[in-house]
Symmetry: C2
């Protein structure tokens, strides 16, 4: 079975390597994608073998492509609040929060995890778009007193059921005290490192915000060494696991044409007037009528291509009903798991739809939840 | 000889295909890069064979990755002028102009070709960054009355010494009347199409701004058909030819850490007070002392890797003197041609430097001009 649809990528300086690229290569990476102008591995053994391992053991991932936008200054919180409809007033220091970032029309520009260091200092850990430009443009245009920049931080994810155990070996027992979506500062080779309990999988784990290149490979090697007895491997975000878990991919499942309401992120939208998000008015207007389409988990029957590498149309009795944006075979759930943007008319649970896959039409059904 | 350093690219919807992707595949593309979240071919036969053909005949290039940012409205020209230190007051309708776009610190965000439709309507034909976000952020932040969006335009380049002849076959004799860096509206299948005499090569030719997907492949096929006797081929921007010609690549040769003065674009910087560019003050300050480094053509002796796919350090008597950002072998000039960012101290013509290539050190010399 062909696991991924590979074509040749010509390297250039414009596609940034990372402080861990040597480690990724040494681990036998088989494919890359480009994410925030940076290389991101997509597969090591096979999608399914990587998936099985991720769900059973622990992996370290080079996710340096999750570039950070730092917002610093007395108006930092004000500026971050302008970006998102999520109410940030209750976010504590050392807390992470997933924030839809929208433009003035209430359309998605990115969906980062924001790390609040203090009222004066935030990091936005980015999905695939140059959000720095929007935040800087807004700050400069509005004359907001905040420094907005991309710090030299290379995130490393440690994901999987054995992540706590592995991290304890390297960072000590206090790693267990880090709660979900909180972060603390640890140290490695006497250099302070921010570590959060977060990551782009549902298997548990951490993200390690590695500052600069000097400690990158030493830390990488220390984790691999410490994890030998835990069957640690170098890995990467896994397509099967992320679809099962309903983790959206900006650029695949949602984009600048979608609102957070369409993206199924309504729970992060506080549309009261005390949240001065740029897209406030547009989102209120949309909320009044309800979005016209929305993200749904979809189970697709029958054989389909191993990955959905371009949108597949969805039909209901011949009528356009939406598009599948991510799909693949799930060994654990014995079905094709998919994320789809479905027109509201056809988005109710159990609605039977038809998906136009590259070599035919397959029956599919809207599910009530992702596969968890 | 290995021509390009290829690794496997895993496709996904996030890496946009284009209206011409089928044509590119059918022509036997051997490698891609990702540019503005979009596929861009890098090689068809070999770098050198593509180069020879481009300099001898005519090629059609899918450069849909040159996404357009449209700026429309009564304040459109005001907004575009805020983006760039280039004085736009003398740019006429139907004129193209290359503009460095800088942030409030005078650092490069992109280097598009701007197409002026009218005072109320511009297109920016982008290099590789989400400039849309900066322009929108600035417009929204400053409350400027302009609509800023990415129209559904897929540029197709027709490049090479036979470009005029080929274009005449499809668009008629009046194509010859289009002057350099000017554009006119033509029609194909009764659909109006903007065509400019421009493009990312020094061989002459046109860029055809194809609106929407319906006429894309018909036009592609019409050009291939009409060009049979001219030995037309499907091609792509060629690394050798663009380095010889000194065509900068944003993300490779210059980036957000560089000013236009460092980028050798001082001739596009009008620092008088009548040009209200956001980076005005920062650029004036830099101009007073002069930039501390600058883009230079560099000839490198001896065998080097076929492409410079990450910066190579430059030394002068052991001291850091800059970095090579693009380099390859030029058959026509019988040397390794390179673009480098050289510290001013070492940037004088004929300065002898040493370049740290992957497998050793090579002598190099600063040239007075690119290879034209």
């Amino acid at each position: 079975m062909v696991v991924v649809n590979d074509i040749a990528l010509t390297m250039s300086g414009r596609l940034r390597r990372t402080p861990f690229s040597k480690g990724v290569l040494a681990a036998g990476v088989k494919g890359y994608t480009v994410y925030n102008h940076t290389l991101l591995a997509t597969v090591f053994h096979s999608l399914q073998e990587d998936y099985r391992h991720l769900k059973s053991f622990v992996q370290i991932w080079d996710v340096s492509c999750q570039r950070q936008v730092a917002v610093q200054g007395t108006d930092a919180t004000h500026l971050v609040q302008l970006l998102t409809p999520r109410d940030l007033s209750r976010i504590a220091p050392k807390q992470c929060c997933y924030i839809p970032v929208v433009d003035e029309q209430g359309k998605m520009l990115n969906d980062p995890v924001a790390l609040k260091h203090s009222d004066d200092h935030w990091w936005l850990s980015l999905a695939d778009s140059d959000l720095l430009f929007w935040v800087k443009g807004l700050a400069v245009g509005r004359n907001i007193q905040a420094r907005v920049y991309e710090p030299d931080i290379a995130p490393l994810a440690v994901q999987g059921p054995k992540a706590d155990e592995l991290m304890e070996h390297v960072f000590g027992e206090k790693i267990h005290a880090v709660k979900f979506f909180r972060f603390e500062t640890f140290s490695f080779l006497d250099i302070p490192i921010v570590i959060s309990r977060s990551g782009y999988s549902k298997q548990g784990g951490f993200e390690v915000f590695v500052p600069g290149i000097d400690i990158a490979m030493p830390l990488w090697n220390a984790l691999l060494e410490a994890g030998k007895s835990l069957n640690v491997r170098v890995g990467c975000p896994n397509l099967i696991e992320r679809i099962e878990g309903g983790l959206l991919s900006y650029g695949n499942d949602i984009g600048n044409e979608n609102s957070p309401l369409e993206s199924g992120l309504g729970r992060y939208c506080n549309l009261s007037s005390k949240v001065p998000c740029m897209g406030h008015d547009a989102l209120i207007e949309e909320a009044l009528c309800g979005p016209s389409r929305q993200i749904r988990p979809l189970a697709i029957d029958g054989p389909v291509a191993p990955v959905c590498d371009r949108p597949w149309s969805i039909k209901f009795q011949g009528k356009y009903a939406g598009k599948v944006t991510s799909a693949t075979w799930s060994p654990d759930f014995d079905t094709n798991v998919a994320i789809a943007m479905v027109e509201m008319e056809f988005a109710e649970v159990d609605t039977r739809l038809e998906v136009e896959v590259p070599d035919g039409v397959r029956p599919a059904a809207v599910r009530s939840s992702f596969w968890l």
